[in-house]
Amino acid sequence: MAQIQERGSTHVYKVNKISKEEMENMVTRCVYEEAPFCNAACPLKLDTRAMLKAAAAGDFKKALQLYEKAATFPLIVSAGCEAPCEQKCRLCECGEGLAIREVEAAVARFGQAQRLGGIFRTKKKKTVAVLGSGLFALFLAGELEKKAYPITVFCEQPDLENFLRCGTEFLDQEAFGLELKRLKGKDISFVFSCSITADFLAEKRVAFDVLCISEAVFARLLPSAAFVPELQYCEEEKLVTGSSAGVMDAAFQAKKAALTVDRLAQNLDPRNMRGQEDPFESRLYTDLSAAKELARIPAQTGGYTKEEAVKEAGRCIQCHCDECMKSCAYLKHYKKYPGLLSREIFNNTQIIMGDHQLNKPMNACTLCGQCTAVCPNGFDMAHVCATARRNMVSTDKMPLAPHEFALMDMIFSNGDAFLARPQPGVEKCKYVFFPGCQAVAVAPETVKAAYLDLCERLEGGVALMLGCCGAICDWAGRYEMQAGTREFLLQEFSKLGDPVIIAGCPTCKKELAESVGGEIIGIWDVLEEIGLPEDAHGLDRPAALHDACGARGDAPTQEAIRDLARKLGVTLVETEYSGDRAPCCGYGGLTAYANPEVAAEITQKALERSDAPFLSYCMACRDRFARQGRESRHILELVYGTDAGAPPDISEKRYNRLNLKKELLSELWHEETAEMKLDYTLEYTDEARQLMDGRMILTDDVIAVLNYFRETGEAILDDETGLMIARKRVGNATFWVKFTQPEPDHYLVHRAYSHRMNVVRRDG
């Protein structure tokens, strides 16, 4: 059998670029990282969601810390805030939006004020002065103190109380007292009773690195100068300024001004690197079904009590999007939302030298497309992983080991086990039945029954083609093999006169439609047309229908299967994720080969949907579920009254394919195949069979080792166990077999193992 060339070296220092635009285009569809709606609407960028979460948990200290991060004087801000967040609260769509401002006020009242660093806090070197008073000057001083600038406020007021009173006349006595205490606790130097004149300004220009000035003073001293509102900066005069017209405006302008000061202090252009400052529309998706408490807790005159605030904050549904993480066991396994995982996978392809740590996650995606169906923005993880795999193959950086077994299986399907023949007695057939490699491997009797039925009941003749559609190399990212497979299949279909393809498997249908094209229907479509065989009957108990990922987005196929099930008399149990939203069985994308652990988790997750037996219409699904110990039937088994029984092991799967080919060739086309008979007796212990299945070692590999041993006599004897040990390099791996020899031509295999590294003797 043909071999696949192993990559020559690990020393490949080239990458095929994936453009930043291409990557961003795919990655930005994921809205997991998007700000919640309340946060996006807030000019101060308060992390409202986190604050409400802390408040709901009764942790007012943490809630206040979060609030103070956005608002340096929380009581002033909460009293004067117009709460744009409340209008954007998603609860407004199904009930009353959250009373965020009232909760904030309660947090400001009941929370414990944060102390920043104290005397040990390292100050920045550049000095800043603020000239004037009012809300802007107050907030700006607060923001700059938070950024650890040594800051001095020069104001006309005689003391701190009068400075704070300026613009905060609306505060009640209690709130004023608390804010005064907060201001006193801040590390800000004050110079009171200043007469701020042009000379005074000139003097301070020299004394300080950055100078800030309230709008009132700015207008009085420099009536003709203009400033850029986006930066709160007058470039001409080198002054940072802002207005105190309203609480929110002043607070927002102080935030922008503080960023400008920060940039100026570092001698950087204040126009650059400002990030998202203005409120914006969030793209986040929220599942509103989590909303339970829809009515607001009414606030008393003095605001919420602690308990009321906790209760109201508890109504927050903590907007976040995890639609894909809820449904996909693969994403759940890696605990990364698709935006981040995709970025990491793309970066993995661009590594010139070093470890490709994301190879495993990249090869563990089943490429099933469920995430795209459940994502509100249609994020396509399959496209990301498939692109990355092809990219790595193109630079010869893709390891062969994870996919080699499956690829060799495909070569076997389209080589030794391949069969293409017109219906006996029909020269040019109207149809060709293409059951798919897994159907033949898992349920050969069912395939045979289906083919004989089609031959009997369809007009125009039905040819048969046993082979692989090419999905295997497509999934592995081996695009050159895929092109070769396409060419091969095109030729074979052409030899049969390009008949209408009747696919037995939805993945084959999809893959063949994309590669060879032409008219392709499913066997389910044919059965809908010609009806079920007379003795077809369903199960005597309800079954859960598992939709195949090959049929995602193919509503007619999904509906045809449901209709067939109904006609068979099967009572179908509805599951949460079905139709286009169905999960993969774990076989897709070659996950079962590249990462058996993740594949098992995916299968388990798919099975958790129901306790009923599973009915599927892809033989790989049937096999995965049965292997996990669940009663699992393919719809064609019910249609033709066959039972594929216990799942075959990897060697039996190959045997089934060869055997069906041999059987059909003999019975239908009267061609006898020479039987490959061993001239010795070969047996396996149960343990050996189990080990071989888990380690992907075929009976053919064992036979190769024993043939080599018989030819050369090369083996060793382990005195401790009494076992003989022989080996043979087959393709890219060395296989070792431990056996006993009860009689000269009789071998009993006890264990088998393999390694890919080649071992040689060395001299010196």
């Binding site: 690990t10 070093g354 470890d355 190879n359 060793i716």
Partner: protein, 73 residues
Amino acid sequence: MAAERNYYTIDPEGKLQCVKCGVKLIKGKAKFMYLDNGFPVELPVCPVCGFVYVPEELALGKVLSVEKALEDK
């Protein structure tokens, strides 16, 4: 001259014998090769025919983990 480095050493301690040559395996020099990388080791070797034995524990342990590490390079 610098001391020779071996990545792995197994001494058969006289418990293994070559079926073909009928002699005990001895600790001998061998080399693992994979994806253009080589690792000198000492494994049970037949002093006559040169058969190199890779025990199951080694193949499924150290060898497998080095294979995986190299594959992801």
